[in-house]
């Protein structure tokens, strides 16, 4: 008996000893589908970074586009105050941590042009963040160990950093890079073409400088200088096309959701009235509607006029009849493989037109501009027509559009920019730059408020996003310090 006990005890001791001493035995806590950061190349992170950059734009635009009255829920339902949390999550959880890893790897490998692209992407994301929430985390962002509760930077500070990033990127892209590392198919925007990235950097810089005109932090001359090195054709458009095995999210939330009886987005009266001759009646007789209308939208009865819903109404359009216009299945923005758009050649031309218009002394109510402004205006329309794949000849020749340089007004330029930039988040920036002026945006009316969630802000334009609840919860002191009413303009619009 004693012997058996002894032997058993020995066996137990051996087993325990074997298991407990072998530390590798416990080294099974790493998920099988995870990889180590050292195993990854820059190219492995760039695809998702670009994808999530475009998703951030899309996500912000689902809200911005309601404020700018491109769309409403079912074509009419107005958005109340919003946190734009989807965009915040994309920027801070998906894009920035990975951009930082790419940048570090690029520095280690001396891959200067790859680093430049990462910088442009970072600038575009911070531009979206600063434009949405004013002060946002940047200098202390995405460093969880050093800054578990990041402080926010003023919008002006973030803008300075954006320009620094773009300027450095421009220097790197104009210089030489003999590291041997190049962008390839992971570049979902330009397929690895650094020249296009360089022109994108200049064009984005012009866009951000335009925001700062009111503050005097940039001049029209700065903008025009940058645009001279910016986009040269629609082939430069900063867009991400959807592959056939994925579904464009606009397609999902306009076409698929409508087909399946779910909440969907549809165009508002303000947009349709800009395009169907209501605000700008066609004069030639040969044009009855903007040729882009049928490229983007569809109506329930082809014989009826186009009608969008009044924002915040109950489904009626401005002529009193029910709305009948929806996004088109297979339309420019709403096919399964449609692009998501950051910034286009057409927008660059409208920025140019506006800069020349203002440089020549133009105001929100003045009439007449120089040939440079007028040429850019018409080229912008032509570029937009080409982008949407329609023939714009008759439209461009109609005297309601071809008003002549001596009659050009700011609202003509902004109308065309508004149409060219459908669903683009930049339009909301234009609205805020001009404080929702009806001189600049013809026919613009505040949402009606039939479905208003929060009557506290009835009759007031929302001018910024609220900080997301995730941030308010976990970083309450900093949020409290920077929080403003959603009807208070952001710094550059003040």
């Amino acid at each position: 008996m004693k012997k058996i006990i002894k032997i058993t005890s020995l066996l137990v001791a051996i087993l325990i000893g074997f298991v407990a001493c072998n530390e590798d035995y416990f080294d099974v806590n790493t998920p099988a589908d995870s990889v180590d950061v050292d195993q990854l190349g820059m190219k492995d992170l760039m695809g998702p970074v670009l994808y999530n950059t475009m998703i951030a734009q899309y996500s912000a635009s689902t809200g911005y586009s309601n404020y700018s009255q491109y769309i409403g829920g079912y074509g009419y339902s107005a958005l109340g105050r919003s946190t734009f949390s989807g965009a915040w999550n994309s920027v801070y959880l998906s894009v920035l941590p990975n951009v930082r890893i790419i940048k570090q790897k690029a520095i280690d490998l001396n891959a200067t042009k790859y680093e430049a692209v990462a910088m442009i992407v970072e600038a575009a994301n911070m531009g979206l963040a600063a434009d949405t929430w004013d002060a946002v985390p940047y200098s202390q962002a995405v460093q969880p160990s050093a800054y578990p509760k990041p402080n926010f930077d003023a919008q002006e500070t973030v803008y300075n950093e954006i320009f620094k990033l773009l300027d450095q990127a421009i220097v790197k892209l104009e210089g030489t890079d003999d590291s041997g590392y190049n962008l390839g198919s992971e570049d979902l925007i330009y397929g690895g073409n650094y020249d296009k990235w360089l022109r994108a950097a200049y064009t984005l810089k012009a866009r951000y400088q335009l925001h700062l005109l009111k503050r005097g932090k940039a001049t029209t001359a700065d903008i025009l200088t940058n645009l001279s090195k910016g986009f040269v054709s629609n082939a430069d458009n900063f867009v991400m096309n959807y592959p056939t095995d994925k579904l464009n999210p606009w397609y999902q939330n306009t076409i698929l959701t409508r087909n399946t009886g779910n909440y969907f987005e549809a165009p508002c009266d303000q947009l349709i009235s800009m395009m169907n001759g209501k605000y700008y009646p066609f004069e030639s007789g040969s044009v009855t509607e903007d040729p882009r209308l049928p490229a983007i939208f569809d109506k329930t009865n082809p014989a009826d006029p186009w009608r969008g819903g009044l924002n915040g109404g109950n489904g009626e359009s401005s002529d009193g009849l029910p709305l009948n216009t929806y996004f088109k299945d297979g339309g420019y923005y709403t096919s399964a493989t449609a692009p998501l758009v950051m910034i286009t050649f057409a927008e660059a031309l409208f920025i140019k037109a506006e800069a020349h218009f203002l440089a020549g002394g133009g105001t929100s109510t003045s009439s007449g501009a120089d040939a440079a402004a007028y040429d850019a205006y018409k080229l912008g329309i032509a570029a937009s027509m080409a982008q949407f794949g329609v023939s714009g000849g008759a439209y461009l020749a109609d005297t309601s559009v071809d008003v002549g340089a001596e009659n050009l007004e700011l609202n003509h330029i902004m109308k065309e920019k508004y149409i060219a930039n459908i669903l683009n988040s930049e339009t909301y920036n234009d609205f805020r730059r001009y404080n929702f002026s009806t001189d600049v945006f013809k026919g613009l009316q505040i949402r009606l408020g039939a479905e208003a969630e929060d009557p506290e802000f009835a009759g007031q334009w929302f001018k910024r996003g609220d900080y997301p609840v995730s941030e308010r919860n976990a970083n309450p002191d900093v949020v409290a310090e920077f929080e403003e009413s959603p009807v208070t303009p952001v710094w550059w619009a003040q």
Partner: protein, 519 residues
């Protein structure tokens, strides 16, 4: 794979004193291999096979947890009246960082059957036992919760391009095991030949270094951080009184009464963690959340702004408004004050009849369904509407003559009391007074009758047992709560999250009839 090795040594040292020693080793190795294949867009309609899809997505993950423990237990028994048990266990866990993956925890318990010495052979005091115990337990995190990993990115491959992205979950790389230390004292007393029985226990548990997924600002690049986040204590009383009121050959009637309390308090949180949020609903902004010093079960949110001893403040627009000036404040507690029940088992010959009443007092709850109904105007609470703009709320307003003073409100609403009011977060659904309710209840948990055909015709048919029964569960409910059954919960029982309901299937009433035959 589980392996257990137990060795027991027993020795009776004398007639009265015996010991037993148990030593053991346990190895558990759990590996879960998840494979998922997802396909959409069918080539041929209604032909449901993965090969018939045009877009496919697959996923594989493998979780493995290894746990090695050695333990021992020594039991001493003296004369069937003094008992002592001492245990010790050491565990090694693969889910903890290597340097912290070993931890030891002991327990000791003692009891004394004092009726062996006092009240010996007393008919009145038939049994009495006092007991006390102390136990420690250690716990580790789940799989892969320490450090931060990089995974294949969502929505990738995208058009043939692959990609990886950082996870938004991260965990402390120096995570320590969570420890709990509990004390319990109790007594088991029985009188009149066990016909009247009392059992009482008081317990207190202190949990330190709780492993928790803390919320971090998303601007850090992560959304959740697993770390040792603080200490808390819970304590409570449990009392059971049972009696055989009648006990003879034709009649037995037993009554059982239970009473229990449980409360807790957060004693310490790390300095950089403001709160621990167990659950939240961002619609009305209601949180199950604790800060240092809070009672467990605390709910946070917004209340109506009140002035002058709790009178509703009415703004210049004529409406009440939630008070956001101080941020989220404590608006309730989801833990009940007590839970008590009374059960009865009555038998007359072959008939038996039983029922159980339960009463939960206190405990606040937010019902998601009710909020939807308030916002859609289908709740009776939104029945009162005034279409004209002249409705005047009861409350106080700022005195126009003296802005520091409040006077009875005379500001009429500027839109009336319509659906917009009931849909408004800042005027109505955001106020905890509106959406958080007292979920106290009294319910008839169970009632049932049965008849046992023992001895009637059974022998002839070779049947040992034949019982017919009928019972009903959950059929009567008394509660001030507006909504489905206040006992329903959005989160499962094991989650430890209370105070949310309305997003699950409500508890069912059920009726059952049974025939039980034994051969």
């Amino acid at each position: 794979m589980d392996s257990n090795l137990l060795i027991t040594f027993t020795k009776d040292w004398s007639e009265k004193f015996s010991t037993s020693l148990l030593v053991g080793n346990q190895i558990s190795d759990r590996k879960r291999d998840y494979d998922r294949m997802y396909g959409e867009r069918l080539n041929i309609p209604y032909y449901n096979h993965i090969s018939n899809t045009t877009t496919r997505d697959n996923f594989n993950s493998i979780n493995q947890e290894r746990n090695v423990g050695i333990f021992g237990e020594l039991k001493l028994d003296y004369d069937d009246k003094l008992f002592l048990s001492v245990t010790g266990r050491n565990d090694w866990l693969s889910t903890l960082p290597e340097e912290n993956n070993s931890f030891f925890y002991p327990s000791v318990s003692a009891s004394y059957v004092f009726t062996q010495d006092l009240f010996k052979d007393s008919d009145f005091f038939s049994f009495g036992k006092l007991r006390a115990s102390y136990a420690e337990v250690g716990n580790g995190p789940g799989f892969g919760e320490t450090g931060q990993y990089i995974y294949p990115a969502g929505n990738f491959p995208f058009g043939g391009v692959g990609g990886y992205a950082t996870s938004d979950l991260a965990g402390n790389e120096n995570l320590k095991p969570e420890r709990s230390k509990s004390w319990e004292v109790g007594a088991d007393l029985r009188f009149f030949k066990n016909r009247l029985r009392f059992d009482y226990a008081y317990y207190t548990t202190a949990i330190s270094d709780q492993i928790f997924r803390t919320s971090v600002p998303y601007s850090t690049g992560i959304s959740r951080y697993v770390t040792n986040a603080g200490d808390y204590e819970t304590w409570g009383h449990e009392l059971m009184i049972a009696g055989d009121i009648i006990k003879n050959d034709t009649w037995t009637w037993e009554l059982i009464y239970n009473f229990a309390t449980n409360e807790g308090e957060v004693t310490d949180l790390p300095d950089d963690i403001d709160n621990i949020t167990y659950a939240q609903d961002l619609g009305p902004e209601i949180f199950s959340r604790v800060k240092e010093g809070d009672k467990m079960g605390t709910m946070y949110g917004y209340k109506y702004r009140r002035e002058n001893d709790g009178q509703l403040y009415i703004g210049a627009d004529g409406y009440p408004t939630i008070d956001t000036r101080e941020g989220y404040v404590v608006v309730g507690n989801a833990f009940p004050d007590f839970v008590t029940s009374l059960g009865s088992n009555l038998r007359w010959k072959n008939f038996s009849f039983n029922f159980l009443f339960e009463w939960k007092e206190g405990g606040d709850k937010y019902d998601w369904t009710r909020r939807q109904m308030l916002r859609q105007g289908t709740s009776k609470a939104t029945e009162f509407r005034v279409r004209t703009a002249d409705y005047v709320f009861d409350g106080v307003m700022v005195d126009p003559a003296n802005p520091d003073n409040y006077i009875p409100n005379t500001n009429p609403t500027n839109r009336g009391l319509d659906e917009d009011y009931y849909r408004s977060w800042s005027r109505y659904t955001g106020a905890a007074e509106v959406i958080l309710q007292d979920a106290s209840w009294v319910k008839l948990r169970n009632i049932g009758v049965s008849y046992d055909f023992a001895g009637l015709f059974l022998k002839k048919w070779n049947i040992t047992n034949f019982v017919l029964s009928a019972s009903a569960n959950n059929i009567l409910l008394w509660t001030p709560y507006d909504g489905y059954d206040p006992e329903g919960s959005t989160y499962s029982a094991g989650s430890g999250i209370y105070g949310f309901s309305g997003q699950g299937i409500p508890l069912t009433e059920n009726y059952s009839f049974g025939i039980q035959i034994g051969f």
